[in-house]
Symmetry: C2
Subunit: 348 residues, 2 copies
DNA sequence: CTGTTAGCGCCTTCAG
DNA sequence: CTGAAGGCGCTAACAG
């Protein structure tokens, strides 16, 4: 609508230059420019030079979207989508980092979708994301709406679910069993003599499954959880500290607080330290995640180690094995149980 | 390569269904399907229903890429690119989270590029990312290669640089001055009587600028930094702890360690605590970032507070003001200095 | 080596 | 309300 003052060299287009613009500027046909860009060895050096000059003069940038679906192998967009609840939790941030590194290395770009912890958000996110035709998609968890599952199946692309374990994955799966985490923690802590358990947890469905596992295993030994404090996502040190304070106020006799993340546990630890409560002597605290974190707090924190980096890397690798199948290499495994590890530090 | 057992309803295509496939299935022309999807009110309910059935039967999913450049307003891709060094640093993770929230809310999707701390990585990343024709791009820092700058200008899209301050931004800018952070820390710490300074820093160009600011301001008062320990990126609690140990070993008399991130500071704190060194009595430790972090460590950590969430949110808002200009609303500000705040806790 | 033709999937314009 | 043309930017296929 407004007047276009023509600059000297750069065209005043609001829209950026196209292949045809470059061709015109170089005095060749569009296809020649295309070749100069993609298969320079098929173009005479002289022409090539003129085209390269024209490219710079026009400020041309390739438009990957318009390359069409039949380009390269299988019309690849070189895009991989990664859907996860949040990136504020360092365990997920680690996963993004690892996945991004592996994928970028192979020329893929990352479409990131942060879905929060609500299913309907995931649903619309997956749908919009799929409309970009990513070559693959990595999801968090195994609980998806029916619509999401249908969209994923209809997309005919590799799907990797992560951070969980199920008997019926959509396609591939990289994760571990949260119930089992609960069982293991229960068994070990009972073995060490703890009886008065408290749970400090974020409102996260997978944390809930760990807590269920914990409570179920405890119940089998006739032990019940003395108190549970639920804090909203995203977890923070502040919430951990406050939650710990609440638990101690209501139940001064609890012996062990099982937290749904290291962030919460670290906050709880701070509260204990500020009260002069010996940890783990008087009050034991167990975290979850252990991003190289618990080993470097003081006093040391016990935790369930699960490696976000590893899950991200393995998920990306599984994806890449499908996307870029190498001749001799083995096919991608459908399911990888990354497991977890109980880390006990200090004398907890 | 393997045989395709034709299912009853879903076609065995490797490629997903197109508009034309749906049209065929519904017995209408492609354009009618297009309308049914985009302007349902222009299609008779009966036809609409048949088309919707066909959509589900064929498993059709919209292909946003092929919508062409002249669709919607200005051929928007509804994609915003976010380029940053890493997401392993929680300060950047916060930024991603905040930016993603704001952008998703307005129907934009996030193309994430993790460039590390090397310029050449940023350059190729920016170029590939621009080939997706994002509607806007958010960058970290103000130091870019000449090629990157040219590509950004040629893209004719809103650009927001973040996490830094300069007199000549490419377009918009949301950040603060790192030199000034150094000056402020120096001034305050001198004022409190500290003289034997040590620096524990990651190999990050912006941290380097803060350190230069610190050293310059100290030098003006005739004070020089006793020791500097540089650790590789990404920073970790472990590196912080080890760095602190090295500094103390080489210079037992240092009074204050200025760290380039809270992560390092927290690690240093752990080392001090494990040695029984009173903090800040015997050794003061200063962090950077303060993601609601320092307030909840024990002993409390002093830090320079810069809010990743705020920077992400403001950057996204600046972007959106350009992308979705509202009639009455004021235009996007070119430069936003988010500033920083010295947080002193305990008796540091 | 370079140009012509044709078509990707979708949508705009203009006719029915 | 529905359809037939035409074109977006790019690239395979075939000609020269």
């Amino acid at each position: 609508m407004d007047a276009q003052k023509p600059d000297d060299d750069t065209p005043p287009h609001i829209t950026s230059a196209t292949l045809t613009d470059v061709a015109r500027a170089a005095g060749v046909s569009p296809i020649t420019v295309s070749r100069a860009l993609n298969q320079p060895q098929l173009v005479r050096p002289g022409t090539l030079a003129r085209i390269q000059a024209a490219v710079r003069a026009t400020g041309y940038a390739r438009n990957a979207a318009m390359a069409g679906p039949r380009t390269a192998a299988q019309g690849a967009t070189k895009l991989v989508a990664l859907i996860l609840p949040t990136v504020a939790n360092p365990i997920f941030a680690d996963m993004v980092q690892a996945a991004s590194d592996k994928l970028t290395e192979r020329g893929y770009q990352l479409l990131l979708g942060l879905a929060g912890y609500e299913l309907w958000r995931e649903e619309i996110l997956v749908e919009t994301v799929l409309s970009r035709r990513p070559d693959g998609i990595i999801l968090t968890g195994t609980l998806h709406s029916d619509n999401t599952r249908k969209h994923l199946r209809d997309a005919h692309i590799p799907v990797v679910e992560t951070w969980d374990m199920t008997a019926s994955p959509i396609d591939m799966l990289v994760g571990f069993s949260h119930e089992e985490v609960g069982h293991t923690v229960a068994a070990r802590m009972l073995e060490k003599g703890y009886r008065r358990f408290a749970i400090l947890t974020a409102a996260d469905p997978r944390a809930a499954r760990r807590n269920q596992g914990l409570q179920a295993a405890l119940a089998r030994q006739g032990v019940s959880v003395a108190a549970t404090d639920v804090v909203p996502v995203p977890a923070s040190l502040r919430l951990g500290r406050e939650g710990c304070a609440r638990l101690l106020a209501a139940h001064p006799d609890i012996e062990l607080i099982v937290c749904s993340s290291d962030t919460l546990a670290q906050g709880a630890l701070t509260e204990a330290a500020s009260r002069g409560l010996p940890v783990p002597g008087q009050l034991a605290i167990m975290g979850f995640g252990d991003l190289n974190f618990a080993a470097h707090t003081f006093p040391p924190l016990s935790s369930v180690r699960v490696d976000g980096n590893a899950i991200g890397a393995l998920a990306a690798q599984a994806m890449l094995r499908r996307l870029l199948p190498e001749p001799g290499a083995p096919a991608a495994r459908k399911v990888i149980d990354t497991g977890f590890e109980l880390i006990e530090r200090g004398s907890t």
